[in-house]
Symmetry: C2
Subunit: 321 residues, 2 copies
């Protein structure tokens, strides 16, 4: 345990020393078997990884550096100890990769599905906090990574299709072990390059809508600019499906959407260099008119609705039947 | 929202300003329908109350003042909005009573039982942290309140017995709406009157064992000193059952056990006056020999085992069948 953990796991509660001169950032997100994942094709270590990743992604969207995590587990009686160990291994490997410490938690039985509820605690300086509410007309809209891959990966895993020799592993990995964009979030918060930020847990259309609503603005997304991987394009072509629609509405990508003021372009260029391997793509503009539109050449369409876990289908993801 | 909540509910995560010069105390505890409560006799507001109470009790056991809470809810499809509202009302009423703010959370569907997972965040000065590990031979052992009432209340609620005119409401209230001993925990931590502390969520025997183990000591509990309410005594007499056994092993009381050094008795007297209506009773001594014993006149018996939720019966509590 690092020195700032005053009391770790095993007592009534954990005690930590806050980062000096910084704010605490806290978030909680649960993963429920049959809603967020299916054990038939999500191995235990990926279950643990995902449960933490979705929370680190939320911290990243606030510009926060993760520090500590609490895990609350509800286990069905038939859970094997080996499965439990693998879940913890998956969670701890991702925690280690982000120098984040498991400081406590809780285990209970359940008569229902396996559930992992993670609370993640991060730290951020007051002037570096990113929210959804800072976008202004004229800001540019950016996303990290490529979009729609996790949705394709989920479908591939679920349907187990060979897909004419396509290598589906990159997309499947995006679904099974998403990499939260912690560094990108911290970096665009740190030099105040970004004016607003949100993660894409429920897809680009949902995030664009939420940021626009919170900021009291609209957005014009350029369809041609949306980053789509070659693997996703090839898979969609084979299926006769629309890769753009998946990129807009597919969930589980855990990339970041953020907006940048034109005046901060210089800072943003500096930040971009610090994002490492993560590609960052300009996909549109913030508008004064509060509409959410996608422009494709001459064509202008309204942004599709995102999906909501709660209103969604029982086996999770936009493709579930 | 108080001024120290920088970003409240509705963004990717909540942002709070830590108390200046203090430590963060964090705990998470879940309540699962069918394991921790039964909706047939626990009304929705009590479900919400209990979900928070068990967490505030954990903070109290560390000497911490609660500040903020996150609620993660897993709702079956058949949940009524009116039930959800009542659960939130119960939780928020208790939060308000302890000047604690709901800063965020998460709602998901579940195919299984209703589950409420609360994360509570408190604050404590470094020198006031209470742990399970500070008991030393010669310390006196204290508990707050009366023990076993919640277990009696659970049985009364579950079996719905009239019980020959006994008023079971006080015991039932202890089960349905336990009052976490926040003030007592803060006060005995504040002037360092206590050397160790733990809450009685899983019963006195369990808490005594945990504190003894963490501190590397034993305990000698005086059976005659254990505080048992008149209602519990009357109910046990009528049933031909042993009130002492229930006081030792019954869970869900959410009282505090703590130890006091003889040299701190003066401080402790001062602290006791600040505990308000909560009675505080000396029930035994910490011993060098690492045995856990209950003394009743000439008789010396080993402390019974406590119960564990995880190994316990499916409908919760020591009396469940």
């Amino acid at each position: 345990m690092p020195p700032w953990v005053v009391v770790g796991p095993g007592d009534d509660a954990a005690v930590i020393e806050p980062e000096r001169g910084a704010l605490d950032v806290v978030t909680t997100d649960a993963q429920v078997e049959g809603i967020h994942f299916d054990r038939r094709f999500v191995p235990p270590d990926a279950i643990g990884h995902r449960a933490l990743a979705v929370n680190l992604s939320d911290l990243a969207a606030m510009g926060a550096q993760p520090r500590a995590v609490l895990l609350s587990l509800a286990l069905p009686d038939e859970t094997l100890v080996s499965e439990l160990d693998a879940m913890l291994d998956g969670l701890l490997a991702l925690a280690n990769a982000h120098r984040t410490v498991l400081i406590g938690g809780n285990i209970t039985r359940t008569t229902g599905p396996l559930m992992l509820d993670v609370t993640a605690i991060g730290t951020v300086k007051r002037r570096r906090v990113l929210t959804r509410a800072g976008a202004r007309p004229g800001d540019e809209v950016y996303v990290t990574g490529t979009l729609g891959d996790a949705a394709v990966g989920l479908r591939s895993l679920r349907d187990g299709r060979a897909d004419a020799g396509l290598d589906m592993q990159p997309c499947e990995a995006r679904y099974l072990r998403p990499q939260p964009r912690v560094r990108a979030g911290v970096v665009v918060g740190r030099n105040r390059a970004a004016s607003s930020c949100m993660d894409l847990s429920d897809g680009l259309a949902d995030a664009a809508r939420q940021v626009a609503e919170a900021s009291g603005v609209g957005m014009n997304i350029d369809a041609a600019a949306i980053p789509i991987s070659d693997a996703s394009r090839a898979w969609h072509a084979l299926q006769g499906l629309d890769a753009l629609h998946t990129a807009l509405t597919g969930g589980d990508d855990y990339e970041l959407l953020f907006t940048v003021r034109p005046a901060q372009r210089g800072r943003f260029r500096g930040a971009r260099k610090l994002c490492g391997d993560v590609c960052v793509t300009k996909i549109g503009m913030v508008t004064k008119e509060r509409d959410l539109i996608v422009t494709s050449g001459e064509q202008v369409k309204p942004l599709p609705q995102g999906y909501e876990h709660f209103a969604g289908p029982p086996t999770g993801g936009p493709y579930a039947e």
